[in-house]
Amino acid sequence: MAKYTNAERVFQALERKQPDRIPHFELTIDRKIINKILAGASYEEFIEHMDWDALVHRDRDFLKEEVLSESPRTTRNEWGAVKRYTQEISPIPIEAPIKSEKDLANYKPPDPDEEHRFKQIRRWVKRYKGERAIVAVATDHNSITSDILGFSERLMAFYTNPELVLRVHQIVLDYQLRYINNAITAGAEIIFIVGDWAYKNGPMFSLEHMDKFVFPPFRAMVQEAKKHGVYVMKHTDGNCWSFLDGIVEAGVDCFHPIDPMADMDIGEAKQKYGDELCLMGNVNCATTLSFGTVEEVRQETKEVIRKAGLGGGLIVSSSNSIHSAVKPENYVEMVRTIREYGRYPLDIKSLS
């Protein structure tokens, strides 16, 4: 089989075709794990060392922050959300900037045209274009609006003040459409829309609320990216069976991470959506990668390939991220197994 570049391998998978081998990259990897595998390495050095097929530019890493307290580290970002850092990679929101109509009247969102947000993409284009795929994460309106209004307050406002929610959604969407446009102009080849819509038992909202508050801005984001001819991926944790059709209909190319903690089976996803979606996932990072043995990781990675690898359209990764509790040796074994057993045509016998 012809040898593909890392980038071509990803694009083939996104088009549900079969490259020379199953691609791999992660949405997020904790700095501590990078250091344990390749001490002191930059993100780029690590990607080259592990031979990831794509680099992932995370929009939130380029939001400016005002430090409110050093211990515990507490910051206010450009959306006005006050967040506290823990040992995890993503800080946790603790105070929302908009609590009333008056706050909204005085609210100033970030500027999506600021150049510093896209410098890294331009640097990666010079260094990697044509070799490794360049992914830009766009955090979705659902997550950002939760930060602006508060997670619980926003959900209750679906009933108590739906107009306020919709107005904030529009502010966020205006930003996101400009952001996506700018990221693509800078050279991003894949827009990865990230935001959780479900938890382990099912969706966070009724389908009626999804149609009113969740899908319209999401579809607008997908269309903005598609207008420029780039690929679109969507991440949400949780049990997504009841609304996955809506994600497909929006025009998404790839769904991540098919959360096994929420009864999402990648074989079932392949069977139901394999003709319409590339799948990215789903070696369990809550259990196997964190607490399992190397052999268990190897078995589970083979199982993911066996269930969803046939015919292409698969990117193997963790079931969420390589977070700080993942055993580095387990992550390395997952990658090794993808390389060993993910060559097309797949040797199905060796995978069982």
Binding site: E88, I94, T160, M261, T287
Partner: protein, 211 residues
């Protein structure tokens, strides 16, 4: 419809803006506060819990029902505290050290309160020593430990070990929960119960107190 039933339905039907008036009207009509709690709020939150578990309602509805219930409870609490009110049980609950997620824990708190439990909410990022101190200094039946992250989940086990080390292992029954927590994990670390969701946590608390 009688006033207590109206209060119960107001919780289920998300009448957050009517509950205070309904509660005050019931008190003015000399309905005892305890009756409003036990026959209005408790059955209301029980219906909410069942509907949530069955996938008929979702987080926005549960959160708003809980807020509606709390509005009524805030009116009733000063009255109940003057009376010798029997409670379903005393529970302390918190998110373990290193973890500052609180939404799941808050839903459990609301469900427990809505079911007549007395709840000490210890908040987030709670030190192991603080859990030990609270168990030692209070007459609790249940301690609830929550973690959302795989990386903080081991602190649940640490807390259980610390309780045992302090000789408090028999003084309280521990229920654990949170996204990465499973029944198998709960068994492995010696927890007394596991709550797969808020409704299960309340049921488990009730069962453990009854046994």
């Amino acid at each position: 419809m009688n006033k207590v039933k109206q209060i119960s339905e107001a919780i289920v039907q998300l009448k957050w803006d009517e509950i205070a008036a309904l509660t005050n009207e019931a008190l003015e009509a000399e309905v005892p506060a305890l009756e409003i709690l036990n026959q209005g709020l408790v059955p209301g939150m029980s219906v909410v819990g069942t509907k949530f578990r069955n996938g008929e309602i979702f987080l926005p509805e549960v959160l708003l029902s809980a807020r509606t219930m709390k509005t009524a409870l805030e009116i009733l609490t000063p009255i109940l505290s003057q009376q010798d009110t029997p409670s379903m049980g005393r529970v302390a609950i918190g998110t373990v050290k290193g973890d500052i997620h609180d939404i799941g824990k808050n839903i459990v708190v609301s469900m427990l309160e809505g079911n007549g439990f007395e709840v000490m909410d210890l908040g987030i990022d709670v030190d192991t020593e603080r859990f030990v101190e609270v168990v030692r200094d209070n007459n609790l039946q249940i301690l609830g430990l929550s973690a959302l992250l795989t990386s903080t989940m081991p602190m649940i086990e640490e807390t259980i070990k610390a309780l045992e080390k302090a000789g408090l292992g028999q003084k309280v029954q521990v229920i654990v929960g949170g996204a990465p927590v499973t029944q198998a994990y709960a068994d492995q670390i010696g927890a007394d119960g596991y709550g797969a969701d808020a409704v299960a946590a309340v049921e488990k608390a009730r069962d453990l107190i009854a046994t």
